[in-house]
Symmetry: D2
Subunit: 489 residues, 4 copies
């Protein structure tokens, strides 16, 4: 297992092409760019904590392939306990970073690909699962970071991939030979991509036969020829080029550091290809990844909410109103919501079941419920945080003002709350709240792991509405035998 430092060192060796605000970064300095540095620190923590005996139980696990101790982020879940510990691990790390550490995406992509390739091979006689196990062994051995790459740009959302005016709006196979395949397209909103080693590409939705070329799953190094990453803007990203305070979370940044990854005729050798045209399994792969990923949100956002709640409580302490009844009510309400999020993630894990491959899968209905709650409750939690924190979050002078020899004294004088706490500390907490309740953070809670409608439509599919109707008919005494009821559950 790598340490955080080793992880960073390994990233410098890549020959990656990353653009930020129209500038191409030097390959070995990508991780030092102020826009990227924090995300790297957050991901590095997933390495360091795995080497910390205090967190051994959550952060490490024994590989079912090799019997060696590995970082949990490279593991294939072998039990309900693994699923539950994943959630607890995520909450714990979030409490330390206050933001995304990105590594769950590849983790979930690997778990999804593992079981689906197994089932695909069983049904179709293909050989993808063995190939994938080789890839997995490599990941576990080297402890590299894998970016999960699912979301395509999608173009006109009313059209399927093959109907688009531009065929590249979804990643697709443009040619293949006996050595491998050439793919083209782009992946959007790529979390942690610029500080990963490999990406695991998956289709963005269930494909129909006419979209055969779009049913592709494969692993590619992030610095393979033909790949360009264009880093996205985050809320207040320019502040990262200044001092620390105004960033709010100078060490770990905001959310996941997403980029648009362009794949311009990228070659992938066959041993890294795990699906190529098997449209009938594309939906299963998407759904499995989505459920694993939706499982996370009550864990990581639960932890992030803990920080928001803590920061709100500190702000109330610093401002002298922590004893007000309505403040306590609001903090309790925030706790209620954070624990509701967490409970759903625990539940979908506790209700997990083994797949044919032996890998454990979450309860898909409850996993969707878990993420869906995040799309609403995080907004409510953050609204209450802004309520408690006060208008200062939106109008506070800058760190430069604080440090100015002429006017710094006014900042220190007038931004003070209770007299025992320096204004600087109050400013730091206000900036942290600003950082965590703002634009990028909210949007990520909405759309990460799929937009709310993506969860909502799963309910009709995953919940047995016919059984519910039968229950009602039985109780109302309408035309059914009670015995029938026993058959369903």
């Amino acid at each position: 297992m790598m340490t955080g430092q080793e992880y960073k060192d390994s990233l410098r060796k890549r020959n990656i092409k990353v653009y930020i605000k129209g500038k191409l970064l030097k390959s070995n300095e990508v991780i030092d760019h102020p826009f990227i540095r924090g995300h790297v620190n957050a991901a590095a923590l997933t390495y360091d904590l795995a080497n910390d005996p205090m967190y051994e139980d959550l952060m490490t696990v024994t590989s079912h392939l090799t019997g060696k101790k590995i970082n949990r982020f490279t593991h294939i879940h072998q039990s309900v306990d693994d699923l539950v510990k994943k959630v607890k691990m995520l909450r714990m790390i979030s409490q330390k970073t206050g933001t995304c550490y990105q590594r769950c995406v590849g983790f979930d992509a690997m778990n999804a690909t593992y079981s689906v390739t197994y089932e695909m091979d069983k049904k179709l006689g293909t050989n993808y699962h063995e190939r994938f196990k080789e890839f997995l062994l490599h990941v576990q051995d080297t402890d590299i970071m894998v970016a999960g790459a699912m979301t395509d740009p999608k173009g006109d959302r009313s059209l399927r991939p093959s109907q688009q005016a531009d065929p590249d709006l979804f990643v697709h196979v443009v040619s293949k030979d006996d050595k491998g395949i050439i793919i083209r397209g782009a992946k959007a909103h790529m979390t942690g991509m610029v500080n990963s080693h490999e990406m695991l590409i998956m289709p963005t939705m269930g494909m129909k036969k006419e979209d055969k070329d779009y049913a592709v799953c494969c692993a590619v190094p992030v610095d393979a020829p033909g790949i360009i990453h264009i880093f996205g803007r985050q809320t207040n990203d320019d502040r990262k080029c200044e001092g620390d305070i105004d960033q709010g979370n100078a060490k770990y940044g905001i959310v996941g550091g997403e980029c648009l990854t362009v794949l311009e005729d990228v070659f992938v050798p066959w041993n890294s290809v795990f699906m190529c045209g098997e449209t009938e399994f594309s939906g299963a792969l998407v759904e499995r990844f989505a459920c694993y990923h939706r499982q996370n949100y009550g864990g990581c956002k639960g932890g992030v909410s803990d920080v928001v709640i803590g920061a709100s409580a500190v702000m109330a302490d610093y401002s002298g109103y922590s004893k007000a009844g309505h403040i306590k009510e609001k903090i309790n309400e925030m706790i209620h919501m954070a624990e509701t999020l967490y409970a759903c993630s625990i539940a979908c894990s506790a209700e997990g079941k083994p797949t044919a491959s032996g890998a454990y899968f979450v309860d898909p209905l409850l996993a969707n419920v878990s993420k869906h709650n995040v799309t609403k409750l995080i907004y409510d939690i953050d609204r209450l945080a802004q309520d408690i924190a006060g208008g200062i979050v939106a109008t506070m002078p800058s760190e430069s003002d604080l440090n100015d020899p002429e006017i710094g004294k006014y900042i220190r004088k007038y931004l003070k709350g209770v007299s025992s706490v320096p204004a600087e500390d109050r400013m730091k907490i206000a900036r942290l709240i600003e950082n965590m309740t703002g634009g990028t953070a909210l949007v990520e809670s909405m759309h990460g792991a799929g937009s709310p409608q993506a969860q909502k439509v799963m309910y009709s599919k995953l919940s047995n509405l016919e059984h519910k109707k039968l229950c009602a008919l039985n109780i109302a005494g309408i035309g059914t035998e009670e015995k029938e009821d026993k058959k369903v559950d």
Copy 2:
């Protein structure tokens, strides 16, 4: 294990005093009264299902005391699996009854008393736990139904028990001798009491030293001398004296059939006394019972919601609008909420831990979250059900109109929805929705297992706010060492 019929027969043998609307019922006919009959049927189902091989795994379990197969409702939880199965059992039964079957109250009271008496004896050298085990053995052997009896009338809520103008507003010990104790007072909102065999009395809140006489826990037959039960009114209870349709749920009724139980100087022998003046353990007993009971609500109300959702979907089918987009959205939203409730109950169970006695206890924070969500989401689910069902729920003519030779034809003609479904069936579903979304059912979701504020105040107690503050301070870089963070979790 008794069957439902044996359970009913056994109830007839009691010498119980029950008043309904100012009339004393004949003791052996109590369970035949239209107001009570449905509740008895619901409770009887907990007996019949235990004898049904299909539900053996959920409904029965091996006693840790005797090794015999027992009805789960008499069991002391020995594992996380027991806690989880309790929730699943509750949801399953609710799907069949659409309402409360009451037996969980005594179940939870016994589990709470079991572990608290153990701890009390350890600390104080008393002998309550052994006494209680004897009582428990009796319950398991005879499969009797035990009513949990916690809530006192409380009088002036701003005063403690010993401060009330009338000392009887909380149940208390009025005298004791070497044979036993005499208690006086009343218990309010007593679910399932009139169709139980024994009641397990507990204090209604943590008592201080000056309220010593009020710290009393004991078992008493429901027909002991000095006990009078006054049955409460439910929404539309008079309809139970008419035909079936207008009741909505003619077989199982509405909620739990609560009564006010008056204890007028009731004698309790020492071997049935499990706490008598040990104020320091009264709070623990209340809290433990409350958490076990709050655990249930995502199970039973999840199942009840399944029926409401199913009934709404049937009503949409019968009325011809089940394909409308907004109807589907609303049904999906109802499913989302029902599963959120369920997930919280599963989570607090999955996170359960053993107590010193070996009995398993739920995660108390998540158990409170579970119930708290019910106090809001059931209202939202029922609102959507009324939205989907239409105004007919509030203005529908009676069953007698349907059956009238003169005007029945108009009912059959004009209350029809889609032409393939008889108006009578549509009426039955409308009445079921009316039954399930109305007054008593809603209020029970609000106040059963404690009012919402009772859950909310637990958050400050059970959630580690100081840790959350520390997380925020660490990330904001304010005056703490990271090392410290590791100490807390």
Copy 3:
């Protein structure tokens, strides 16, 4: 203007056929039936208050037809002030009745018919408006109560009137001659019908050409040959046959006393026909009525909410927790919602405009907003009322128990809250809250004046979305000239 007593006397003279629970009532005793009595009392108050000098300004107005002083409920709005005073009148009466007094339905129907017949005549050269003015004069002169009759049973909601298996599921003209027309069908959810003198029948929705026979508007005496009224069940209606307390609101009842009115080949002379086949104006009539009626809901439900809020505050006083912070927060939240409802009704009135006929019409967009808020906020207000009131609302013994010589003492002892208030008063308030927050009352808030979706679909129609898009495009600097913006508003 009639007094309440004269109103009641006049009702006894009708030869009306009303069925309740399968029994035909004696025509002159209809208003004495316990199920109906309260509704009559509420409607009678609209007569008595008009004779009370204290309320002269709100309750009476000068007829624009005759210059005589009339009851406002028979008036055609002649100004914004009339529209605003209507809302204030409704809130004031609701504060006295705590429930529906039904007379606004005919009031709104007359205002809608007045302006639409005017426009129809202008366009089509018909003579409906003069006919209608004659009818109106009669209503103003005699101060009779008119029931608005819009909602048809509708059958299969996915089919239009003429597509139904049974053509009678919407009221339609079955034949006509030079004397008049014969209509058949039924009207559902008829508020105040059984205690009105006339009904004003309107189509239930905009009709297309193929539904020509269904585009009919006319006035008919409620006791015309061929008419049968079947009274609907309300929550706890049977309690009205017992004592006072358990009714909650013994004087005025619950909501509007709805019935199903069957029209079995009813003859209507031409001078009472105000639309007959003019499908192109059917939609306008429906919409105009709907908007007038939706205007009301922030008025009457604002007043009803005042009573619910007051009752909750009294219950808190009586129980000893009115000083608790969370109780105050909840009451303030209830006030916030009640005033939001009221504000919307005031706003749609203040923004009213004259129609071509001179009658004033509300702002239709804001009128829809007004009703739509009721479909959600009344549920929230009532939920908080049940929260504050406590479980007693759902489990309280009966009035007969209170009056029983044996057990009455226990009721008086144990249902007491603070020692200074008799248990009986606390019971009365609990029953009032039960009455007002229960089934029928909630459902009426949902579906009265149209279900929520009926309001929601109006937003796309009434709100200028294209203008909103243009605003956004201008600010974003996309392809539009600023000058264009000025053209729209």
Copy 4:
């Protein structure tokens, strides 16, 4: 009346001290700073629109002092119509700017001071009202912009002004002589201050006798000696130093451009002092200003919401999902909320009443309701906007990437939605949504015109809870005579 250009020119003549990020700006270039420019443009629009005949009715009015035509922003409301037109004017301007134009603060401050000084003089025999009229005449004649200055830094919120460790945490009089007074302290969150001419200082809350020195109201030029303005940071402020697209709203910016205004021993001549020690009127002044200011929020935020709704609809068009049912539902829901906000502002205006001074005042209860709804519904509207807009809002590459010769082609290719719309336009709309739903904009909706709790506490004061209780008691038939009810209303 000035034009926008004249307004800007006049600002250049000030000798104002403004700091941004630790740098003192050149006095005559303050309005050119990228952080400030947009706010100036927005305020300038209030001048230009007043000169546009199309908006004459909303934007201009006849002065009651001089009979001259003036900009409405300098007017004292003389009728309900004035109050209503204020709201309509605000919504109209917001639809053009998509953000705050700041001028209402001084407008409201002047209206509040006008009527309170009148009442103060009547009661205390002071001469403040005449002084204030002189000031007002000057404002109306010169059409200058006045900043309302109420909020003090407040320090420890659990302490009153005179109890603070530092006496300057609230603005106070440090000395006075026959020429005038010297004041010290600071005003926080000062909207539009750096582009105003004068500020009108008011106390931040009702003062008690011991806080006499803090009860001060006066007018001061923004560039008076001793005044320093420290400009606050806004979300994404640094983007204003780059190109246009990434700003979202390059012309008008975000919210109000707030600053911290330090008053370091500033001299104010007596003729500009309108309160000095009259603590008993400080509360009235605060409340009156607060109500006028809360009135606005349904107007300006209604207009801002129109832009957000329009932008969301455009984004749906551009992405190809504007026909999806759930998208339409969400847009209708947003419209519902925006109109609810607007309705409350219209209602509190329509219910306005004259004060003793003749100036019209809004209904204070409904004005609080208006603002309070904003603190919740704007969050819900913006959440739905982010839902509709998609994750692109949080991860979109920069304008520099779009313009880059190497990678611009990828941006244009992959950020396209429907093929007929250039990616650049879709980016512009996404950035506008990002701008309007982000941090600063949300926080301003929460805390502008007072935090939500400030509104909530007004409900108990302004709503007649005793009357509501009486209504409930009357209906429940508890111990009151109906006659009494008539006395209250």
